[in-house]
Protein backbone atom coordinates (compact mmCIF):
# COMPACT_ATOMS: atom_id res chain seq x y z
CA UNK A 1 0.00 0.00 0.00
CA UNK A 2 2.99 2.28 0.48
CA UNK A 3 5.44 2.49 -2.36
CA UNK A 4 9.04 3.55 -2.25
CA UNK A 5 11.71 2.88 0.30
CA UNK A 6 10.25 4.44 3.40
CA UNK A 7 11.21 4.32 7.05
CA UNK A 8 9.29 5.57 10.06
CA UNK A 9 11.29 8.78 9.98
CA UNK A 10 10.97 9.46 6.26
CA UNK A 11 7.20 8.92 6.33
CA UNK A 12 6.84 11.35 9.20
CA UNK A 13 9.07 13.95 7.57
CA UNK A 14 7.44 13.74 4.19
CA UNK A 15 3.90 14.21 5.51
CA UNK A 16 4.75 16.54 8.37
CA UNK A 17 6.91 18.84 6.29
CA UNK A 18 4.00 19.80 4.05
CA UNK A 19 2.59 21.55 7.08
CA UNK A 20 5.74 22.69 8.82
CA UNK A 21 8.71 23.18 6.58
CA UNK A 22 7.95 23.46 2.91
CA UNK A 23 7.24 26.89 1.59
CA UNK A 24 3.56 27.25 0.86
CA UNK A 25 3.39 26.55 -2.88
CA UNK A 26 2.27 29.34 -5.17
CA UNK A 27 -0.70 27.37 -6.50
CA UNK A 28 -1.97 27.12 -2.94
CA UNK A 29 -2.38 30.90 -2.83
CA UNK A 30 -4.09 30.93 -6.23
CA UNK A 31 -6.46 28.12 -5.32
CA UNK A 32 -7.19 29.49 -1.87
CA UNK A 33 -7.71 32.97 -3.31
CA UNK A 34 -10.23 31.79 -5.87
CA UNK A 35 -12.09 29.62 -3.37
CA UNK A 36 -12.16 32.42 -0.81
CA UNK A 37 -13.52 34.88 -3.35
CA UNK A 38 -16.27 32.46 -4.35
CA UNK A 39 -17.04 31.96 -0.66
CA UNK A 40 -17.89 35.66 -0.47
CA UNK A 41 -20.91 34.87 -2.64
CA UNK A 42 -22.23 32.86 0.28
CA UNK A 43 -21.85 35.80 2.62
CA UNK A 44 -23.53 38.08 0.10
CA UNK A 45 -26.45 35.69 -0.50
CA UNK A 46 -26.90 35.06 3.23
CA UNK A 47 -26.98 38.73 4.13
CA UNK A 48 -29.49 39.42 1.38
CA UNK A 49 -31.58 36.47 2.51
CA UNK A 50 -31.67 37.60 6.13
CA UNK A 51 -32.52 41.16 5.10
CA UNK A 52 -35.32 40.22 2.71
CA UNK A 53 -36.60 36.79 3.70
CA UNK A 54 -36.85 33.59 1.72
CA UNK A 55 -39.07 35.22 -0.91
CA UNK A 56 -35.89 35.98 -2.83
CA UNK A 57 -35.58 32.29 -3.66
CA UNK A 58 -37.26 30.64 -6.60
CA UNK A 59 -39.26 28.06 -4.67
CA UNK A 60 -42.95 28.65 -4.31
CA UNK A 61 -46.14 26.56 -4.50
CA UNK A 62 -46.25 23.86 -5.68
CA UNK A 63 -42.45 23.44 -5.66
CA UNK A 64 -42.07 24.45 -2.02
CA UNK A 65 -38.79 22.62 -1.60
CA UNK A 66 -36.10 23.18 -4.16
CA UNK A 67 -32.52 24.38 -4.09
CA UNK A 68 -32.36 24.46 -0.31
CA UNK A 69 -33.06 20.76 0.11
CA UNK A 70 -31.37 19.67 -3.13
CA UNK A 71 -28.15 21.27 -1.96
CA UNK A 72 -28.58 20.01 1.59
CA UNK A 73 -28.95 16.40 0.45
CA UNK A 74 -26.14 16.77 -2.09
CA UNK A 75 -23.66 18.07 0.45
CA UNK A 76 -24.54 15.66 3.19
CA UNK A 77 -24.29 12.78 0.75
CA UNK A 78 -20.78 13.85 -0.21
CA UNK A 79 -19.83 13.70 3.44
CA UNK A 80 -20.76 10.04 3.73
CA UNK A 81 -17.74 8.67 1.90
CA UNK A 82 -15.46 10.14 4.57
CA UNK A 83 -17.15 8.20 7.35
CA UNK A 84 -17.34 5.12 5.20
CA UNK A 85 -13.59 5.25 4.59
CA UNK A 86 -12.67 6.01 8.17
CA UNK A 87 -15.13 3.76 9.98
CA UNK A 88 -16.44 0.93 7.83
CA UNK A 89 -13.15 0.25 6.07
CA UNK A 90 -11.40 0.26 9.45
CA UNK A 91 -13.78 -2.40 10.74
CA UNK A 92 -13.29 -4.39 7.55
CA UNK A 93 -9.53 -4.13 8.06
CA UNK A 94 -8.92 -2.56 4.66
CA UNK A 95 -5.37 -1.28 4.73
CA UNK A 96 -5.84 1.10 1.83
CA UNK A 97 -7.97 3.43 3.92
CA UNK A 98 -4.91 4.61 5.85
CA UNK A 99 -3.59 7.12 3.33
CA UNK A 100 -6.93 8.67 2.47
CA UNK A 101 -8.93 8.61 5.69
CA UNK A 102 -7.64 11.91 7.09
CA UNK A 103 -8.68 14.16 4.25
CA UNK A 104 -11.80 12.14 3.54
CA UNK A 105 -12.87 12.84 7.13
CA UNK A 106 -12.03 16.50 6.70
CA UNK A 107 -14.14 16.48 3.57
CA UNK A 108 -17.00 14.99 5.60
CA UNK A 109 -16.82 17.75 8.18
CA UNK A 110 -16.71 20.54 5.64
CA UNK A 111 -19.46 19.01 3.52
CA UNK A 112 -21.68 18.66 6.59
CA UNK A 113 -20.98 22.31 7.47
CA UNK A 114 -22.11 23.34 3.98
CA UNK A 115 -25.14 21.05 4.17
CA UNK A 116 -26.27 22.31 7.57
CA UNK A 117 -26.40 25.89 6.29
CA UNK A 118 -29.34 25.20 4.00
CA UNK A 119 -31.92 23.88 6.46
CA UNK A 120 -30.83 26.53 8.93
CA UNK A 121 -31.11 29.41 6.47
CA UNK A 122 -34.26 28.17 4.77
CA UNK A 123 -36.07 28.95 8.00
CA UNK A 124 -35.47 32.59 7.06
CA UNK A 125 -34.88 33.47 10.69
CA UNK A 126 -32.19 31.09 11.84
CA UNK A 127 -31.94 32.80 15.23
CA UNK A 128 -35.37 31.40 16.02
CA UNK A 129 -34.37 27.94 14.85
CA UNK A 130 -33.20 27.21 18.40
CA UNK A 131 -36.73 26.38 19.48
CA UNK A 132 -38.01 25.33 16.08
CA UNK A 133 -35.42 22.64 15.75
CA UNK A 134 -34.10 21.76 19.20
CA UNK A 135 -36.10 20.66 22.24
CA UNK A 136 -35.18 23.66 24.32
CA UNK A 137 -37.60 24.47 27.14
CA UNK A 138 -38.93 27.94 26.39
CA UNK A 139 -41.48 30.22 28.03
CA UNK A 140 -43.91 29.69 25.14
CA UNK A 141 -44.17 26.01 26.00
CA UNK A 142 -43.42 25.00 22.40
CA UNK A 143 -41.83 21.64 21.66
CA UNK A 144 -40.72 20.19 18.35
CA UNK A 145 -42.71 17.21 17.06
CA UNK A 146 -40.56 14.12 17.48
CA UNK A 147 -42.76 12.17 15.08
CA UNK A 148 -41.65 14.37 12.20
CA UNK A 149 -38.85 13.29 9.86
CA UNK A 150 -37.63 16.88 9.87
CA UNK A 151 -36.82 16.64 13.57
CA UNK A 152 -35.24 13.22 13.03
CA UNK A 153 -33.08 15.00 10.49
CA UNK A 154 -32.00 17.60 13.03
CA UNK A 155 -30.94 14.89 15.46
CA UNK A 156 -29.27 12.78 12.79
CA UNK A 157 -27.30 15.61 11.19
CA UNK A 158 -26.22 17.26 14.43
CA UNK A 159 -25.11 13.91 15.88
CA UNK A 160 -23.34 13.10 12.65
CA UNK A 161 -21.48 16.40 12.63
CA UNK A 162 -20.45 15.99 16.28
CA UNK A 163 -19.32 12.38 15.99
CA UNK A 164 -17.43 13.06 12.73
CA UNK A 165 -15.63 15.96 14.38
CA UNK A 166 -14.74 13.81 17.41
CA UNK A 167 -13.50 10.98 15.22
CA UNK A 168 -11.39 13.32 13.13
CA UNK A 169 -9.94 15.05 16.15
CA UNK A 170 -9.11 11.84 17.99
CA UNK A 171 -7.24 10.69 14.89
CA UNK A 172 -5.35 13.97 14.85
CA UNK A 173 -4.13 13.99 18.48
CA UNK A 174 -0.98 11.85 17.91
CA UNK A 175 -0.23 13.71 14.69
CA UNK A 176 -0.49 17.07 16.40
CA UNK A 177 1.98 15.72 18.96
CA UNK A 178 4.36 14.89 16.11
CA UNK A 179 4.02 18.39 14.71
CA UNK A 180 4.60 19.84 18.19
CA UNK A 181 7.83 17.89 18.50
CA UNK A 182 9.01 18.89 15.07
CA UNK A 183 7.93 22.54 14.89
CA UNK A 184 10.77 25.06 14.97
CA UNK A 185 8.56 28.12 15.21
CA UNK A 186 7.55 28.61 18.85
CA UNK A 187 4.04 29.88 18.09
CA UNK A 188 3.31 26.86 15.94
CA UNK A 189 4.77 24.63 18.64
CA UNK A 190 2.51 26.20 21.23
CA UNK A 191 -0.61 25.80 19.10
CA UNK A 192 0.15 22.18 18.18
CA UNK A 193 1.06 21.41 21.80
CA UNK A 194 -2.30 22.73 22.92
CA UNK A 195 -4.10 20.77 20.21
CA UNK A 196 -2.29 17.55 21.09
CA UNK A 197 -3.33 17.82 24.77
CA UNK A 198 0.16 16.77 25.87
CA UNK A 199 0.07 13.45 24.05
CA UNK A 200 3.32 11.53 24.65
CA UNK A 201 2.70 8.17 23.03
CA UNK A 202 2.64 6.18 26.28
CA UNK A 203 1.77 2.51 25.86
CA UNK A 204 -1.09 2.85 28.37
CA UNK A 205 -2.46 5.78 26.45
CA UNK A 206 -2.24 3.96 23.14
CA UNK A 207 -4.10 1.04 24.67
CA UNK A 208 -7.12 3.19 25.55
CA UNK A 209 -6.70 5.20 22.41
CA UNK A 210 -7.09 2.16 20.19
CA UNK A 211 -10.20 1.07 22.09
CA UNK A 212 -11.70 4.51 21.55
CA UNK A 213 -10.79 4.56 17.89
CA UNK A 214 -12.25 1.15 17.22
CA UNK A 215 -15.44 1.77 19.16
CA UNK A 216 -15.92 5.13 17.48
CA UNK A 217 -15.61 3.32 14.16
CA UNK A 218 -18.10 0.74 15.38
CA UNK A 219 -20.71 3.29 16.36
CA UNK A 220 -20.09 5.54 13.36
CA UNK A 221 -21.01 2.69 11.04
CA UNK A 222 -24.70 2.44 12.01
CA UNK A 223 -24.68 6.22 12.41
CA UNK A 224 -23.64 6.94 8.83
CA UNK A 225 -26.20 4.48 7.51
CA UNK A 226 -28.87 6.04 9.68
CA UNK A 227 -28.12 9.60 8.62
CA UNK A 228 -28.89 9.23 4.95
CA UNK A 229 -31.76 6.86 5.70
CA UNK A 230 -33.27 9.58 7.85
CA UNK A 231 -32.60 12.17 5.15
CA UNK A 232 -34.50 9.92 2.75
CA UNK A 233 -37.38 9.72 5.27
CA UNK A 234 -37.93 13.43 4.65
CA UNK A 235 -39.29 12.26 1.32
CA UNK A 236 -40.44 8.70 1.75
CA UNK A 237 -42.55 9.33 4.86
CA UNK A 238 -44.65 11.82 2.88
CA UNK A 239 -47.30 10.73 0.37
CA UNK A 240 -46.13 12.66 -2.66
CA UNK A 241 -45.94 10.41 -5.74
CA UNK A 242 -42.29 9.85 -6.58
CA UNK A 243 -41.25 10.19 -2.93
CA UNK A 244 -43.35 7.60 -1.17
CA UNK A 245 -41.17 4.55 -1.85
CA UNK A 246 -39.53 1.99 0.43
CA UNK A 247 -36.45 1.81 -1.80
CA UNK A 248 -35.40 5.27 -0.65
CA UNK A 249 -33.19 4.56 2.40
CA UNK A 250 -30.79 2.02 0.80
CA UNK A 251 -30.84 3.86 -2.49
CA UNK A 252 -29.98 7.16 -0.79
CA UNK A 253 -27.18 5.62 1.24
CA UNK A 254 -25.62 4.06 -1.87
CA UNK A 255 -25.99 7.36 -3.70
CA UNK A 256 -24.29 9.17 -0.84
CA UNK A 257 -21.29 6.86 -0.89
CA UNK A 258 -21.20 7.13 -4.69
CA UNK A 259 -21.15 10.95 -4.61
CA UNK A 260 -18.69 10.96 -1.73
CA UNK A 261 -16.15 8.76 -3.46
CA UNK A 262 -16.44 10.97 -6.53
CA UNK A 263 -15.57 13.97 -4.35
CA UNK A 264 -12.69 12.11 -2.66
CA UNK A 265 -11.26 11.39 -6.12
CA UNK A 266 -11.74 15.00 -7.21
CA UNK A 267 -9.75 16.11 -4.16
CA UNK A 268 -7.07 13.46 -4.06
CA UNK A 269 -6.05 13.35 -7.72
CA UNK A 270 -4.66 16.92 -7.71
CA UNK A 271 -3.57 16.72 -4.06
CA UNK A 272 -1.27 13.74 -4.56
CA UNK A 273 0.32 15.45 -7.54
CA UNK A 274 0.82 18.84 -5.91
CA UNK A 275 2.27 17.49 -2.71
CA UNK A 276 4.12 14.54 -4.28
CA UNK A 277 2.17 12.03 -2.26
CA UNK A 278 2.05 9.42 -5.03
CA UNK A 279 3.93 7.00 -2.80
CA UNK A 280 1.20 7.11 -0.18
CA UNK A 281 -1.88 7.61 -2.32
CA UNK A 282 -0.91 5.11 -4.97
CA UNK A 283 -2.52 4.01 -8.20
CA UNK A 284 -3.96 1.08 -6.28
CA UNK A 285 -5.86 3.51 -4.06
CA UNK A 286 -7.37 5.27 -7.06
CA UNK A 287 -8.37 1.98 -8.65
CA UNK A 288 -10.03 0.77 -5.44
CA UNK A 289 -11.97 4.00 -5.17
CA UNK A 290 -13.03 3.68 -8.79
CA UNK A 291 -14.33 0.19 -8.07
CA UNK A 292 -16.31 1.35 -5.04
CA UNK A 293 -17.74 4.12 -7.21
CA UNK A 294 -18.76 1.65 -9.89
CA UNK A 295 -20.39 -0.71 -7.38
CA UNK A 296 -22.37 1.98 -5.56
CA UNK A 297 -23.25 3.60 -8.89
CA UNK A 298 -24.83 0.37 -10.05
CA UNK A 299 -26.90 0.21 -6.85
CA UNK A 300 -28.09 3.72 -7.59
CA UNK A 301 -29.05 2.73 -11.14
CA UNK A 302 -30.96 -0.20 -9.67
CA UNK A 303 -32.74 2.38 -7.50
CA UNK A 304 -33.82 4.32 -10.60
CA UNK A 305 -35.16 1.15 -12.16
CA UNK A 306 -37.06 0.30 -8.97
CA UNK A 307 -38.60 3.75 -8.82
CA UNK A 308 -40.10 3.15 -12.24
CA UNK A 309 -41.20 -0.32 -11.25
CA UNK A 310 -42.84 0.90 -8.02
CA UNK A 311 -44.77 3.50 -9.97
CA UNK A 312 -46.14 0.91 -12.36
CA UNK A 313 -46.72 -1.80 -9.73
CA UNK A 314 -48.56 0.57 -7.39
CA UNK A 315 -51.40 0.72 -9.96
CA UNK A 316 -52.10 4.18 -8.57
CA UNK A 317 -52.88 6.60 -11.37
CA UNK A 318 -50.90 9.36 -9.63
CA UNK A 319 -47.79 7.21 -9.34
CA UNK A 320 -48.05 6.07 -12.95
CA UNK A 321 -48.51 9.65 -14.07
CA UNK A 322 -45.50 10.75 -12.09
CA UNK A 323 -43.25 8.13 -13.69
CA UNK A 324 -44.38 9.11 -17.21
CA UNK A 325 -44.16 12.78 -16.41
CA UNK A 326 -40.68 12.43 -14.98
CA UNK A 327 -39.23 10.32 -17.76
CA UNK A 328 -40.74 11.45 -21.04
CA UNK A 329 -44.03 13.37 -20.90
CA UNK A 330 -43.15 16.20 -18.57
CA UNK A 331 -41.20 19.39 -19.21
CA UNK A 332 -38.27 18.22 -17.10
CA UNK A 333 -37.57 15.06 -19.16
CA UNK A 334 -34.13 16.42 -20.05
CA UNK A 335 -33.03 16.46 -16.41
CA UNK A 336 -33.93 12.79 -16.06
CA UNK A 337 -31.97 11.75 -19.12
CA UNK A 338 -29.02 13.91 -18.15
CA UNK A 339 -29.11 12.13 -14.80
CA UNK A 340 -29.09 8.72 -16.47
CA UNK A 341 -26.17 9.84 -18.62
CA UNK A 342 -24.15 11.13 -15.64
CA UNK A 343 -24.86 8.42 -13.08
CA UNK A 344 -25.77 5.46 -15.23
CA UNK A 345 -23.80 5.62 -18.46
CA UNK A 346 -20.61 7.49 -17.58
CA UNK A 347 -19.60 5.04 -14.85
CA UNK A 348 -19.80 2.07 -17.25
CA UNK A 349 -16.36 3.16 -18.47
CA UNK A 350 -15.00 2.08 -15.10
CA UNK A 351 -15.46 -1.55 -16.08
CA UNK A 352 -12.43 -1.10 -18.29
CA UNK A 353 -8.95 -1.10 -16.88
CA UNK A 354 -7.83 1.62 -19.24
CA UNK A 355 -10.25 4.17 -17.80
CA UNK A 356 -9.91 3.01 -14.21
CA UNK A 357 -6.18 3.51 -14.32
CA UNK A 358 -6.19 6.86 -16.02
CA UNK A 359 -6.17 9.82 -13.65
CA UNK A 360 -7.66 12.03 -16.31
CA UNK A 361 -10.68 9.80 -16.90
CA UNK A 362 -11.21 9.18 -13.19
CA UNK A 363 -11.19 12.89 -12.52
CA UNK A 364 -13.58 13.58 -15.39
CA UNK A 365 -15.97 10.78 -14.43
CA UNK A 366 -15.93 11.97 -10.81
CA UNK A 367 -16.98 15.44 -11.87
CA UNK A 368 -19.74 14.01 -14.07
CA UNK A 369 -20.92 11.87 -11.15
CA UNK A 370 -20.98 14.88 -8.81
CA UNK A 371 -23.15 16.74 -11.31
CA UNK A 372 -25.27 13.63 -11.73
CA UNK A 373 -25.89 13.25 -8.01
CA UNK A 374 -26.98 16.86 -7.81
CA UNK A 375 -29.34 16.25 -10.73
CA UNK A 376 -30.69 13.17 -8.97
CA UNK A 377 -31.97 15.29 -6.11
CA UNK A 378 -33.26 17.87 -8.57
CA UNK A 379 -35.22 15.17 -10.41
CA UNK A 380 -36.60 13.62 -7.22
CA UNK A 381 -37.66 16.92 -5.73
CA UNK A 382 -38.73 19.15 -8.59
CA UNK A 383 -40.33 16.65 -10.96
CA UNK A 384 -42.32 15.12 -8.11
CA UNK A 385 -43.63 18.43 -6.84
CA UNK A 386 -44.27 20.48 -9.95
CA UNK A 387 -47.22 18.36 -11.04
CA UNK A 388 -48.91 16.88 -8.01
CA UNK A 389 -52.49 15.78 -7.36
CA UNK A 390 -54.22 19.02 -8.40
CA UNK A 391 -53.69 20.08 -12.02
CA UNK A 392 -54.90 23.57 -11.14
CA UNK A 393 -51.80 24.11 -9.00
CA UNK A 394 -49.24 22.84 -11.50
CA UNK A 395 -46.37 25.19 -12.17
CA UNK A 396 -42.80 25.27 -13.37
CA UNK A 397 -39.83 25.89 -11.12
CA UNK A 398 -36.73 27.89 -11.86
CA UNK A 399 -34.04 28.94 -9.41
CA UNK A 400 -33.46 32.63 -8.79
CA UNK A 401 -30.15 34.47 -8.91
CA UNK A 402 -29.92 34.11 -5.11
CA UNK A 403 -30.41 30.36 -5.18
CA UNK A 404 -27.51 30.00 -7.56
CA UNK A 405 -25.31 32.51 -5.74
CA UNK A 406 -25.79 30.74 -2.46
CA UNK A 407 -25.07 27.31 -3.88
CA UNK A 408 -21.94 28.55 -5.65
CA UNK A 409 -20.92 30.25 -2.42
CA UNK A 410 -21.06 26.98 -0.46
CA UNK A 411 -18.77 25.38 -3.04
CA UNK A 412 -16.30 28.22 -2.51
CA UNK A 413 -16.65 27.86 1.26
CA UNK A 414 -16.00 24.12 1.04
CA UNK A 415 -12.82 24.57 -0.98
CA UNK A 416 -11.65 27.42 1.28
CA UNK A 417 -11.84 25.05 4.22
CA UNK A 418 -10.12 22.29 2.25
CA UNK A 419 -7.25 24.64 1.37
CA UNK A 420 -6.84 25.73 4.98
CA UNK A 421 -6.90 22.11 6.09
CA UNK A 422 -4.19 21.16 3.61
CA UNK A 423 -2.03 23.99 4.84
CA UNK A 424 -2.30 23.54 8.62
CA UNK A 425 -3.12 19.90 9.31
CA UNK A 426 -1.25 16.77 8.18
CA UNK A 427 -3.22 15.54 5.17
CA UNK A 428 -2.34 11.90 5.73
CA UNK A 429 -2.56 10.19 9.09
CA UNK A 430 1.10 9.85 10.07
CA UNK A 431 0.74 7.45 12.96
CA UNK A 432 -1.42 5.07 10.95
CA UNK A 433 1.06 5.05 8.07
CA UNK A 434 3.79 4.28 10.60
CA UNK A 435 1.68 1.46 11.97
CA UNK A 436 1.28 0.08 8.47
CA UNK A 437 5.06 0.02 8.08
CA UNK A 438 5.24 -1.77 11.43
CA UNK A 439 3.63 -4.90 10.04
CA UNK A 440 7.00 -6.05 8.80
CA UNK A 441 8.41 -5.40 12.24
CA UNK A 442 5.77 -7.58 13.85
CA UNK A 443 7.28 -10.46 11.91
CA UNK A 444 10.66 -9.41 13.20
CA UNK A 445 9.47 -9.84 16.81
CA UNK A 446 8.53 -13.43 16.07
CA UNK A 447 11.93 -14.07 14.56
CA UNK A 448 13.67 -12.64 17.61
CA UNK A 449 11.51 -14.81 19.84
CA UNK A 450 12.50 -17.89 17.90
CA UNK A 451 16.16 -17.07 18.43
CA UNK A 452 15.71 -16.36 22.13
Amino acid sequence: MIEGDHTLASVTDKIGDVTLKKRTPFHWFIGFGIAFMIAQALLFATVWLLANGIGIWGNNQPVGWAFDIINFVWWIGIGHAGTLISAILLLLNQKWRTSINRFAEAMTLFAVACAAMFPLLHTGRPWLAAYWLFPYPNTMGIWPNFRSPLIWDVFAVSTYATVSALFWYVGLIPDFATLRDRAKNKYFRFVYAALSWGWRGSARHWHRYEITYLILAGISTPLVLSVHSIVSFDFSVSQVPGWHATIFPPYFVAGAVFAGFAMVLILCIPLRRWYRMEEFITHTHLVFMAKVMLATGLIVVYGYAMEGFFGWYSASEYEVFMVKNRIWEGPYWWSYWLLIFCNGLSIQLLWFKRFRESEFWLFLISIIVSVGMWLERFVIIVTSLHRDFLPSSWAMYSPSFWDITMFTGTIGFFFTLIYLFVRFVPIISMFEVRQLLDEQQANEIHELEHKA
Binding site: T12, W143, T159, T162, D181, A194, A203, W206, I219, Q441
Partner: protein, 169 residues
Amino acid sequence: MAEFDTAAQLVVAARKMREAGYTKTDAFSPYPIHEIDEALGIKKSILPFMILAGGIAGLLSGLALVFYVHVLDYPIIVGGRAHFSLPAFIPPMFELTILFAAATAVLGMLFLNGLPSPYHPVFNVPRFALASREKFFLLIEAKDENYDYAATKSFVEGLGAQEVFDVDE
Protein backbone atom coordinates in the same frame (compact mmCIF):
# COMPACT_ATOMS: atom_id res chain seq x y z
CA MET B 1 14.73 5.78 30.31
CA ALA B 2 16.13 3.77 27.43
CA GLU B 3 15.92 4.46 23.73
CA PHE B 4 15.40 1.74 21.10
CA ASP B 5 15.42 1.70 17.34
CA THR B 6 12.62 -0.73 16.61
CA ALA B 7 9.37 -1.88 18.12
CA ALA B 8 10.70 -5.42 18.28
CA GLN B 9 13.62 -4.42 20.49
CA LEU B 10 11.27 -2.42 22.68
CA VAL B 11 8.93 -5.36 23.22
CA VAL B 12 11.76 -7.79 23.98
CA ALA B 13 13.31 -5.33 26.45
CA ALA B 14 9.93 -4.66 28.08
CA ARG B 15 9.43 -8.39 28.67
CA LYS B 16 12.85 -8.71 30.30
CA MET B 17 12.10 -5.71 32.46
CA ARG B 18 8.86 -7.22 33.65
CA GLU B 19 10.56 -10.53 34.37
CA ALA B 20 13.11 -8.62 36.46
CA GLY B 21 10.21 -7.47 38.65
CA TYR B 22 9.77 -3.84 37.68
CA THR B 23 6.15 -2.71 37.69
CA LYS B 24 6.13 1.11 37.64
CA THR B 25 7.13 1.20 34.00
CA ASP B 26 5.97 2.71 30.75
CA ALA B 27 6.81 2.56 27.07
CA PHE B 28 6.54 5.27 24.45
CA SER B 29 6.15 4.64 20.76
CA PRO B 30 5.26 6.62 17.64
CA TYR B 31 2.31 4.30 16.91
CA PRO B 32 0.32 1.71 18.87
CA ILE B 33 2.06 -1.65 19.36
CA HIS B 34 -0.21 -4.47 20.42
CA GLU B 35 2.48 -6.75 21.86
CA ILE B 36 3.53 -4.12 24.39
CA ASP B 37 0.30 -4.46 26.41
CA GLU B 38 1.17 -7.98 27.43
CA ALA B 39 4.90 -7.23 27.75
CA LEU B 40 4.29 -4.41 30.24
CA GLY B 41 1.36 -6.13 31.90
CA ILE B 42 -1.18 -3.45 30.98
CA LYS B 43 -4.62 -4.44 32.22
CA LYS B 44 -7.65 -4.27 29.99
CA SER B 45 -9.23 -0.85 30.24
CA ILE B 46 -12.70 -0.33 31.68
CA LEU B 47 -13.34 2.13 28.86
CA PRO B 48 -15.63 -0.18 26.80
CA PHE B 49 -17.97 -0.51 29.77
CA MET B 50 -18.00 3.24 30.27
CA ILE B 51 -18.95 3.65 26.61
CA LEU B 52 -21.70 1.07 26.94
CA ALA B 53 -23.02 2.94 29.98
CA GLY B 54 -22.84 6.19 28.00
CA GLY B 55 -24.83 4.65 25.17
CA ILE B 56 -27.49 3.32 27.53
CA ALA B 57 -27.69 6.71 29.24
CA GLY B 58 -28.19 8.30 25.81
CA LEU B 59 -30.95 5.86 24.92
CA LEU B 60 -32.75 6.42 28.22
CA SER B 61 -32.42 10.18 28.06
CA GLY B 62 -33.81 10.08 24.51
CA LEU B 63 -36.74 8.04 25.71
CA ALA B 64 -37.27 10.34 28.69
CA LEU B 65 -37.17 13.39 26.44
CA VAL B 66 -39.80 12.19 23.96
CA PHE B 67 -41.94 10.77 26.74
CA TYR B 68 -41.86 14.02 28.68
CA VAL B 69 -42.61 16.15 25.63
CA HIS B 70 -45.31 14.05 23.98
CA VAL B 71 -46.96 12.28 26.89
CA LEU B 72 -46.50 14.36 30.03
CA ASP B 73 -45.98 17.99 29.13
CA TYR B 74 -47.99 18.54 25.98
CA PRO B 75 -49.99 15.51 24.81
CA ILE B 76 -51.49 16.36 21.44
CA ILE B 77 -52.52 14.08 18.60
CA VAL B 78 -50.47 14.72 15.45
CA GLY B 79 -51.07 12.73 12.28
CA GLY B 80 -53.41 10.34 14.08
CA ARG B 81 -50.62 8.72 16.05
CA ALA B 82 -50.77 7.71 19.70
CA HIS B 83 -49.21 9.99 22.29
CA PHE B 84 -46.57 7.40 22.96
CA SER B 85 -45.82 6.38 19.36
CA LEU B 86 -42.59 4.49 19.89
CA PRO B 87 -41.70 3.59 16.26
CA ALA B 88 -41.64 7.26 15.33
CA PHE B 89 -39.43 7.99 18.34
CA ILE B 90 -36.74 5.48 17.38
CA PRO B 91 -34.66 7.87 15.23
CA PRO B 92 -34.10 10.54 17.92
CA MET B 93 -33.46 7.87 20.58
CA PHE B 94 -30.99 6.10 18.33
CA GLU B 95 -29.12 9.29 17.51
CA LEU B 96 -28.83 10.25 21.18
CA THR B 97 -27.49 6.78 21.99
CA ILE B 98 -24.74 7.25 19.43
CA LEU B 99 -24.03 10.80 20.53
CA PHE B 100 -23.65 9.92 24.21
CA ALA B 101 -21.58 6.82 23.48
CA ALA B 102 -19.21 8.75 21.19
CA ALA B 103 -18.81 11.58 23.68
CA THR B 104 -18.13 9.07 26.48
CA ALA B 105 -15.58 7.29 24.32
CA VAL B 106 -13.56 10.42 23.62
CA LEU B 107 -13.90 12.15 26.98
CA GLY B 108 -13.42 8.85 28.82
CA MET B 109 -10.23 8.15 26.89
CA LEU B 110 -8.85 11.60 27.67
CA PHE B 111 -9.90 11.35 31.31
CA LEU B 112 -8.43 7.88 31.91
CA ASN B 113 -5.24 8.93 30.14
CA GLY B 114 -4.97 11.98 32.36
CA LEU B 115 -4.97 14.31 29.38
CA PRO B 116 -4.58 17.19 28.89
CA SER B 117 -1.22 17.15 30.64
CA PRO B 118 0.94 19.90 29.20
CA TYR B 119 3.89 18.95 31.42
CA HIS B 120 5.39 15.55 31.97
CA PRO B 121 8.96 14.80 33.18
CA VAL B 122 9.75 12.72 30.06
CA PHE B 123 9.58 15.88 27.98
CA ASN B 124 12.76 17.01 29.77
CA VAL B 125 14.80 14.53 27.76
CA PRO B 126 15.65 16.29 24.50
CA ARG B 127 15.76 13.05 22.47
CA PHE B 128 12.22 12.26 23.60
CA ALA B 129 10.94 14.49 20.80
CA LEU B 130 11.73 11.55 18.52
CA ALA B 131 9.15 9.37 20.28
CA SER B 132 6.56 10.89 18.01
CA ARG B 133 8.64 10.23 14.91
CA GLU B 134 10.66 7.01 14.84
CA LYS B 135 12.19 6.07 18.21
CA PHE B 136 10.91 3.86 21.02
CA PHE B 137 11.45 4.53 24.71
CA LEU B 138 11.19 2.44 27.84
CA LEU B 139 10.86 4.04 31.27
CA ILE B 140 11.32 2.79 34.82
CA GLU B 141 10.03 5.19 37.42
CA ALA B 142 11.99 5.98 40.59
CA LYS B 143 8.82 5.11 42.53
CA ASP B 144 9.25 1.44 41.64
CA GLU B 145 9.79 -0.91 44.61
CA ASN B 146 12.82 -2.54 43.03
CA TYR B 147 14.32 0.80 42.03
CA ASP B 148 17.87 1.43 42.98
CA TYR B 149 19.68 4.03 40.91
CA ALA B 150 22.93 2.12 40.27
CA ALA B 151 21.40 -1.36 39.91
CA THR B 152 18.53 -0.19 37.74
CA LYS B 153 20.83 1.81 35.54
CA SER B 154 23.12 -1.13 34.89
CA PHE B 155 20.08 -3.36 34.28
CA VAL B 156 18.69 -0.94 31.73
CA GLU B 157 22.05 -0.62 30.05
CA GLY B 158 22.09 -4.38 29.66
CA LEU B 159 18.84 -4.35 27.69
CA GLY B 160 20.57 -3.51 24.44
CA ALA B 161 19.33 0.03 24.30
CA GLN B 162 20.63 2.64 21.91
CA GLU B 163 21.14 5.08 24.74
CA VAL B 164 20.05 5.43 28.38
CA PHE B 165 18.89 8.69 29.94
CA ASP B 166 18.06 9.93 33.43
CA VAL B 167 14.70 11.69 33.55
CA ASP B 168 14.58 14.72 35.84
CA GLU B 169 11.35 15.49 37.66
